[in-house]
Amino acid sequence: MSAPLSAPNDTKALAVRMTGIDKRFGPVRANRGASLEVRQGEIHALVGENGAGKSTLMKMLAGMFAPDGGTIEVGGRDVTGWSTAQAIGTGVGMVHQHFMLVPTLTVAENVVLGREPVSVATFDAARAIREVESLCEQSGLQVPADRLVADLSVGEAQRVEILKTLYRGARILLLDEPTAVLSPPEVTELWNVLRRVRDGGATIILITHKLDEVMNVTENITVMRQGETVARMATRDTSPEGIAKAMVGRDVDLGVKVAHGGARAMGAPALHVKNLVVRGARVERAVNDVSFAIQPGEILGIAGVEGNGQTELLEALAGLRPAVSGAMSLGGRDITALSVRDRGDAGLSHIPEDRHRRGLILDYTIADNLILGQQHRFTSGAAMDGAAVMAHAQSKIAEYDIRPTDPLLAARTLSGGNQQKIVIAREMSRPFVALLAAQPTRGVDVGAIEFIHGELRKAREAGKAILLVSAELREVLSLSDRIAVMYGGKIVTVLNRADASEEILGPFMTGARREVTA
């Protein structure tokens, strides 16, 4: 790490300067004297672990709330504590991590909302569409202006978000984890658009967890840790390892080693799925005739853009959604008709893709969350065995390094990474044959990712079968022995790890290529 906190060479004027920013939410100090300097016309990365205070800092720059202390300057003018409307008026636009789009309105209506073209006291819908179409033309962001946002793909929805900021004349664009939901070609497209916008004179601040993105597209990097700015560096002078070290404060294994068990005994598969068909909420055949088998000691990774049937597949396997037809078996035993609890007792563990909706009860204590779904194994007579629950909690908290260590704290009070460790601890410490690991590291920081990947590898060495579903292609590539790609509810290809790469998988993920193997 080169000279932390030394300002970058000041060759261009500063677009943004934030100094000594403090922000509290109740007992949590989200920002503690944080600072940020961004030059005009650059793409600047803001990185840090979850809860480091990056989004908070950006939201204050966008006027969503005021800092408790410190100053914010935009273009040399003190704008501390301004409103969203003032920020927008001055050309600061934010693309949020969770899309801020109204699904029941059209693309054009979403883009112009708040600054609608008017003719004779009436909203001029035709002009809105014309203006948005010409903006699409200029910026190269192609979206049908009269389509309902609910009918757009995620990539298109994000283009609408960027169009919104451009429509408002944004000269400083803040993007909060823009690539988290995109497929590789959409990511490439996004970078092209952002570079074009930057070349047009705009300044871009990018929050991201993906260090390769930081290396590829940014010029300078600001690193935050626990609410403070801990480092500033020029991208060309650093490496992914250097950034990770600054983020965590120690050396980190970024997990790109590919150490896979070689030939495996082709015995009975631990998890076997045959001709599975599952109905989705909106699609008749969300999972459309899917078959695969996972051997003991094997990780099968499922790559694919979200919304191609992965969720329904996982829910059907876990017993949360009925199968229309087809069969599932675990260690040779047919589990198609079993309940969630019976599947668990039969040896199926499940790390759900959404820990807030399915993985945890946020208002329950850590101890109670650690036995969810297994509560029938912690009883004495009709009552819960409190002592056994506590003993279990204490041992798992120590074993999985869950912080804080008080078993009686509500899960809600923990960081994302520690919440996920509760889920991992619960699902991996029970006896199991196969594990469904859905987005196991979503929204957790690099330190926790390293830990969780280690646990998954250990389980494989112990002879467990693991189905890994992840939107992170790198994660799938670094952990899996074989990789299946899901597109439109079908498995369109299955490749051995050695034969797969981002370039090879990309076309399958977008449906540009398909072949039926296995």
């Binding site: 109204v102 209506e109 600054r115 006291a121 909203f123």
Partner: protein, 292 residues
């Protein structure tokens, strides 16, 4: 002649539903639950009689009735928006409060626990007839209210913002739409509109009787849901419910079906609609939620 009479009767019965449902559609599209329509109507009815009684002017009665609706709506809006109270609980409370406060003032002003004296009203002195029908301005306003509210919701900038605020308030806020202000306006307008429904009831009968709205606010809300939160469809639902009621009145002499069954029609249809039989019925996504 029979058909004309049926039509006229249906419109007369539909007018209070149309006003209240118009208000309900507006507030619910902005994300605020309109369980309070019943209370707004009752308040409007009482206010109208009070104003008309003291001034001998039906028009001033109308203004006072609307003022009552606005007052009650302000209480609802402040509790729901400013203090983020549970809208269902507040709605029930306002409905019960209105029953009580109108009864209290009924006793205080007119010394009666059941009804007010006769006051100046609109139309032919409470008698059904073509002249009374055509000269009552509230009939004409009631017929026009749904198309107007539809135009506001679908075609104006304010309507676009109402729809955005009811679906995804954070998205609206992030582009500088004043979410709370839009909701205040929508709820106050719904209070005024629903009150007009009550004003019509009271001034058509030229008096106020205790709890005279008798569940019409809930039927109006049922029409909003049955009409899938679209003002024009909600208006048609109001007419449908009113036609069923007219049928019941006209068949009463024949004693074909017990009137209680006809009275159930709006609610049965609403249950069917909400259960998804008549197309998909989807409420505004942020309905009832003000916490974000």
């Amino acid at each position: 002649m029979g058909a004309l009479l049926f039509f006229a009767q249906t419109v007369r019965i539909a007018i209070p539903y149309l006003f209240a449902a118009a208000g309900g559609a507006l507030a619910e599209r902005a994300g605020v639950v309109s369980l309070t329509l019943e209370g707004f109507m009752l308040g409007g009815a009482f206010g109208a009689v009070l104003g008309s009684y003291y001034t001998h002017s039906a028009w001033i009665g109308l203004v006072v009735g609307v003022a009552w609706g606005l007052g009650l709506a302000a209480v609802h809006a402040v509790s729901a928006i400013r203090f983020k109270a549970d809208q269902i609980v507040v709605g029930v409370a306002i409905n019960l409060f209105t029953v009580g406060i109108t009864r209290f003032f009924l006793q205080l002003a007119f010394g009666s626990s059941s009804n007010s004296p006769r006051v100046a009203g609109f139309g032919g002195d409470g008698v059904a007839g073509a002249a009374g029908f055509l000269t009552n301005p509230l009939i004409w306003m009631g017929v026009l209210v749904m198309p107007v509210v539809w135009w506001i919701v679908q075609k104006t900038t304010f309507g676009l913002r109402v729809r955005a605020v009811g679906e995804h308030p954070m998205a609206a806020a992030s582009v500088g739409v004043p979410v709370n202000r839009v909701r205040y306006v929508a709820v106050l307008a719904s209070g005024a509109l629903a009150a007009l429904g009550g004003v019509y009831l009271a001034l058509d009968q030229h008096q106020f009787t205790d709890s005279m709205t008798a569940g019409r606010g809930f039927i109006a809300l049922a029409a909003v849901i049955f009409g899938r939160w679209d003002p024009l469809r909600a208006g048609l639902a109001c007419l449908l419910f009113a036609a069923a009621e007219t049928l019941q009145i006209q068949l009463q002499a024949a004693q074909l079906i017990p009137s209680q069954f006809v009275a159930m029609i709006p609610y049965v249809l609403t249950i069917i609609a909400v259960a998804g039989v008549v197309g998909r019925s989807r409420a505004p996504a942020a309905l009832g939620r003000t916490e974000d």
